[in-house]
């Protein structure tokens, strides 16, 4: 066994299909029987020819005709059975693969999920996994059987006459040579195709998503170069590729089945010289014609082979990505104080460190505000506290226990994290709020809704609390969604609340209502808040000014105005924009 080497895509795929190896092997056996049925038909005709040449008549031949029909029946029945069996194994493999991917996602760091477009996960879980279907369900049984059977035919021809055996292989050899030429660049071309397709998809998503702007500026798809260009590039890439490929394709697909080009002249010459009987000659013709069908069928999977690597790679990329390692046993926490000691952080592949040696104490029951220019790292600090990633240097403790020693579900019970846009599921309003605490009674759900200031509008909805929110909460306005998500966080009643720009995208008409809801949510809690309205947090116990991944200063408002020029400047800018009547 090669232990060190990265297993090939096929080995990985075969490993994923572990539970269904029996089904796949069975389907191969059935497929082989099926193709053997076809071969039986060829052998019958060969037998009939021999009978005729030795003076036989209709009566002697008829049983062979019956057998021939039997061979075809075997082929039809067994290849159908094989297809059924291989699909059963395949779809179950795909199902398991999808489940492993989905359950893996619940174990990777939250931050990784947030930083990956959801469309990308969708493509892998749905499309790439589906892309395995032809490989598993068709390639495995059909390619195997279609390669095995010609082999037996070639051997039979060689047994009859080795010279004719060679002659019957001429076109196959030339065909294979051409095929091997054509597939050389396939993997590279396919990668390019994926790239050009991705660019086009992005351009389309953008254009359709920006339809409002498109309409407002009356730009047509044809005249907007980026859209039309990406679409045209995609078509041209494939057409160019196919044209290049076609030189080879047209050649091997025409040459490979034309076995007669070498078999007929060679056979004629050998027959004429008396070293090949007419019966053997005709038998060879029949058998060599039987070669080509399965060969072409087998070779039609060559394209699939080249794609497997890309698909498997993408799936393995998720399955093999690092997970957060946490103990199973709940930790004993003393209080809800949070401490950051020399915390540094670097995102996965990016080299650049975004937080450098952050030291910070957050005392229970206090309000701590993180402020700073966009990109300063303030939001990263909040997300690290919420356990979205592991720190890359130093440590964060909660109740004097390192976050890495606290099971995730325990940590999540301690912290309520409210962001700008919180996802609502396509279920009822009641169910969405109840997610905060699944065992909450209806009365408790409604009490939380009242406290979050959404009871009124919920009751005004068509079905009240039983109104379905729509995909992503699409049936509600942004402000309504936000208030429901606050009600959800309230129901959870966690000792630590993190507000990550929770009010940034609220329309002013609703702002006051949401502010009231937040004030209710945070009463008596340890509160960590990131806000762009400095006025909101002016009274915080501690204001932490973050700049370029470092803490520039911390203290209360009065102290900072005096000692921190950056804060003083931000405060001035805020006062300038303050929207007062």
């Amino acid at each position: 066994m090669k232990t060190k080497k990265e297993p090939s895509p096929f080995a990985k795929l075969w490993g994923w299909a572990n539970a269904y190896h029996g089904g796949f092997c069975g389907s191969v056996v059935l497929a082989v029987i099926g193709v053997a049925g076809t071969m039986l038909a060829y052998l019958c005709v060969a037998a009939i020819i021999r009978l005729l040449l030795s003076g036989g008549g209709l009566r002697e031949c008829l049983p062979w005709c019956g057998l021939m029909l039997g061979g075809y029946l075997i082929k039809a029945v067994f290849s159908s059975l094989s297809t059924g069996m291989s699909h059963t194994a395949t779809y179950h493999t795909l199902r398991d693969l999808r489940k492993s991917l989905l359950s893996k996602l619940s174990r990777v760091p939250m931050g990784t999920i947030l930083n990956t477009p959801s469309g990308q996960y969708k493509t892998t879980i749905v499309d790439r996994v589906e892309g395995m279907e032809p490989t598993l369900a068709h390639l495995i049984p059909e390619m195997t059987s279609n390669l095995l059977v010609p082999l037996t035919l070639v051997i039979s021809i060689f047994v009859l006459d080795w010279r004719m055996g060679l002659a019957s292989l001429v076109t196959t050899a030339i065909g294979l040579l051409i095929v091997s030429q054509s597939t050389k660049t396939y993997a590279v071309r396919w990668k390019g195709a994926v790239e050009v397709g991705r660019r086009m998809a992005n351009a389309i998503v953008e254009y359709v998503g920006g339809i409002q702007v498109v309409k407002a500026f009356s730009q047509s798809a044809g005249s907007y170069k980026k859209y039309a260009g990406a679409v045209e590039d995609n078509a041209r890439y494939f057409v160019d590729w196919m044209h290049d490929n076609q030189k080879y394709m047209a050649s091997w697909q025409s040459i490979l089945p034309a076995v007669l080009v070498s078999v007929l002249p060679t056979g004629l010459l050998l027959w004429n010289s008396g070293s090949l009987s007419a019966a053997d000659f005709l038998t060879v013709i029949v058998l060599s014609l039987g070669l080509t069908g399965p060969m072409i069928a087998a070779l039609s999977f060559v394209d699939e082979l080249a794609i497997v690597g890309t698909n498997v790679g993408e799936i393995a990329g998720i399955l093999e990505s690092p997970e957060l390692v946490r103990p199973q046993q709940p930790a004993k926490l003393s209080g809800s104080g949070v401490t950051l000691k020399n915390v540094s952080f670097t995102y996965g592949e990016v080299k650049e460190e975004v937080l450098h040696k952050i030291n910070l104490d957050i005392h229970p029951g206090t309000v701590t505000a993180l402020v700073g220019p966009s990109g300063s790292g303030k939001s990263t600090i909040a997300k690290l506290i919420a356990g979205f990633w592991d720190v890359t240097g130093g440590a964060i403790t909660l109740g004097d226990v390192d976050l890495q020693d606290i099971p995730l579900d325990q940590l999540n019970r301690q912290i309520a994290y409210v962001a700008q846009d919180n996802y609502l599921f396509d279920r009822t309003v009641r169910d969405n709020i109840r997610m905060g605490r699944p065992d909450a009674a209806d009365a408790e759900v409604e009490a939380a809704a009242r406290a979050a200031g959404c009871d009124m509008f919920i009751r005004a909805l068509e079905n009240g609390y039983d109104t379905v929110c729509g995909e992503g909460g699409g049936h509600l306005s942004g402000g309504e969604r936000q208030r429901i998500s606050i009600a959800r966080a309230m129901l959870k009643d966690a000792p630590i609340v993190i507000l990550d720009e929770a009010t940034a995208s609220i329309d002013p008409e609703n702002e006051a209502l949401i502010q009231r809801a937040i004030s209710a949510l945070t009463k008596g809690k340890t509160l960590i808040v990131i806000a762009h309205h400095l006025g909101t947090i002016a009274g915080a116990d501690t204001i932490v000014v973050v700049e370029n991944g470092r803490i520039a200063a911390q203290g209360n408002q009065a102290k900072l105005l005096e000692t921190c020029p950056l804060y003083a400047q931000m405060w001035k800018a805020y006062l300038g924009t303050r929207d007062a009547a």
Partner: protein, 575 residues
């Protein structure tokens, strides 16, 4: 099968001619391929029929057959590939253009996702399978037909049996297609459900994790995965027997040819050489027809995909056969305008006038119809009743492009394309020169930060190096509106400045845009509202109050309440 081929022809649009040519050449190629039958016939005559041995003609016929087939296959496959990919590309542009004429009301997250899926994935299926289907189906069918002609030529009785086989095969294929016609759409439905659930699972992961609901939410998506597995299997199981039936159909005719040839030989009406030829031909004749038949599932899906792409053409568009009107006056008038989304009334008899070169601020509770009112001017929808006049003409009299020449819009949510800054600004006027782009950027206070970027105006937004702050993006969207230089501006003010540091520049940019224009704005800030010539307070589809800031502040009502709430919000403190 022919039904779908016809559909492909209809879909091919400008490539129809090429497709016809490809089919012609494909037939020629099939004739070349069938020449090997001739070679076989000559060989049989020599070996069994006692004809004089001449190896060369046989070898030459085979060579001509191969070379001719290569050339024809090369040409016709290329042409079919061209057709497949370019017809998908044409459709993509066609749908993109068509979207502009569909009322905005048709679009929501769901329909946008659906359209995107059609233009990317569904048409992707079309381009990937159309070429292959055409090659296999047309090629396979024509090859079999050419061989049948050869057979007719060798012995007409057996030729007729072979042709009867083709006809039976086609009949069975039709039968199987109508029996499985629901499989194409069913498969698409399975995929769509799966996509929906996976997206919900991934997007809701943050909530799921922070509330420890992994088991609960996982269950829903796992159930869908199980379900899609079961349904896909059921589909395969319903299709597979048909492929067996198709195989048996043609093979019965193969055996029939063999038996008939033997019988004719026994009856003395067929020579031994011809009889042997027919035995061998019984294999050749249906081989390609079978591989064509194996494409029939894919044809089925191709048909479903094309139907789906065509269905976007069936979405309602607005009546767009208006006239080219060069309006010289930029004033707006609403005359008793009614508008509803489905059953929900949004505007209920609104009338007002916006005089030329004045500023009108629209305020009111969210859901009060502010955005709808503005969008009706740009004819994102058509009114249900009443009239909207721009420059004295009903907006429905204008050609859509001609109407939009009068209007420049700035949206609350800045939407920039993943393109260069230059192209983003030029989106406002594609014919603009670089100097004009720079000039607009200067007016919108963008020039300085743009030139500070390493790639300047060629910086691609959204990719590495192109990360701009919210305020900067806002100003680029204003530069885009400035370069359009329309006499009317519809402005949906941003709710809160994304970064307060840029406030002054943003104000300068807006001033440059609105200078000397007719402005209608959805205003959120007191500052802008106060300075408006006219304030409309919209509530429940009616104009509740109208006047200047000073006038409205004196009356009790929504406006005064609104001001109060604003002051509360501004003065809000968390601790």
């Amino acid at each position: 099968m022919f039904g779908i081929l016809k559909k492909i022809f209809a879909f091919a649009g400008g490539k129809r001619g090429l497709l016809k040519k490809a089919m012609g050449v494909s037939l020629l190629g099939a004739l070349f391929a069938s020449l090997q039958f001739l070679a076989l016939m000559l060989a049989m005559d020599m070996v069994v029929g006692g004809a004089k041995l001449t190896v060369w003609p046989v070898a030459c016929i085979m060579l001509v057959s191969i070379l001719g087939h290569i050339a024809c296959a090369y040409y016709s496959t290329n042409a079919e590939t061209d057709t497949g990919y370019h017809m998908a590309a044409e459709k993509r542009v066609h749908i993109g253009d068509r979207l502009r004429y569909i009322p905005m009301g048709y679009f929501n997250d769901n329909s946008l996702g659906n359209i995107t899926a059609v233009v990317t994935t569904t048409l992707g299926d079309v381009e990937n399978t159309a070429a292959r289907c055409l090659v296999m189906v047309i090629g396979g069918f024509l090859n079999t037909l050419a061989l049948c002609l050869m057979l007719l030529f060798a012995d007409w009785r057996l030729g007729l049996i072979a042709i009867a086989g083709i006809l039976c095969y086609l009949a069975v294929t039709e039968l199987s297609q109508s029996a499985t016609s629901k499989t194409g759409p069913a498969r698409q439905y399975i995929q769509e459900t799966l996509v929906e659930k996976v997206l919900e699972y991934v997007q809701g992961m943050g909530v799921v994790k922070s509330y420890g609901l992994e088991k609960d939410s996982g269950q829903a998506v796992y159930n869908t995965v199980d379900d899609s597995c079961q349904k896909a299997l059921a589909l395969v199981r319903s299709i597979t027997p048909w492929s067996g039936i198709r195989q048996i159909t043609v093979r019965i005719f193969s055996v029939a040819i063999v038996v008939a040839a033997l019988a004719f030989y026994a009856g003395g009406t067929l020579s031994l050489a011809r009889c042997l030829l027919m035995l061998i031909a019984s294999f050749l004749i249906y081989a390609e027809l079978e591989s064509a038949g194996n494409m029939s599932d894919q044809l089925q899906m191709l048909g479903a995909a094309m139907d789906k792409a065509n269905s976007i053409d069936n979405t309602p568009t607005m009546d767009i056969d208006g006239q080219e009107i060069a309006s010289s006056h930029a004033f707006v008038e609403f005359q008793d305008v009614h508008f509803a989304y489905g059953d929900r009334t949004i505007l209920d008899g609104i009338s007002f006038t916006i005089p030329e070169k004045t500023t009108t601020a629209v305020v009111g509770p969210s859901g009060g119809g502010k955005t709808t009112l503005c969008n009706l001017i740009a004819r994102f929808w058509d009114v249900d009743d009443g009239k909207i006049l721009v420059g004295g003409h009903d907006v429905r009299e204008y050609k859509l492009d001609s109407l939009m020449k009068n209007i420049s819009m700035v949206f609350q949510n800045v939407y920039l394309f993943n393109d260069t800054i230059e192209n983003n600004i030029k989106f406002g006027r594609p014919s603009a020169t670089h100097e004009q782009v720079m000039d607009a950027a200067k007016q919108a206070c963008c020039h300085d930060f743009i030139t500070a970027l390493p790639e300047g105006y060629d910086t691609v937004l959204g990719e590495g190096g192109g990360t701009l702050s919210g305020g900067e993006k806002q100003r680029i969207s204003i530069a885009r509106a400035i370069i359009k230089d329309a006499p009317m501006i519809i402005l949906d003010e941003a709710t809160a400045s994304v970064d307060p540091e840029n406030e002054v520049e943003l104000q300068t940019a807006i001033n440059a845009l609105t200078h000397d224009k007719t402005i209608i704005m959805i205003a959120h800030r007191l500052k802008t509202v106060k300075d408006a010539d006219q304030i409309l307070v919209l509530d429940g589809g009616h104009i509740a109050q109208r006047g200047t800031h000073a006038e409205l502040l004196e009356q009790p009502g929504l406006y005064a309440d609104f001001i109060g709430l604003r002051q509360e919000a501004v003065g809000w403190k968390l601790a």
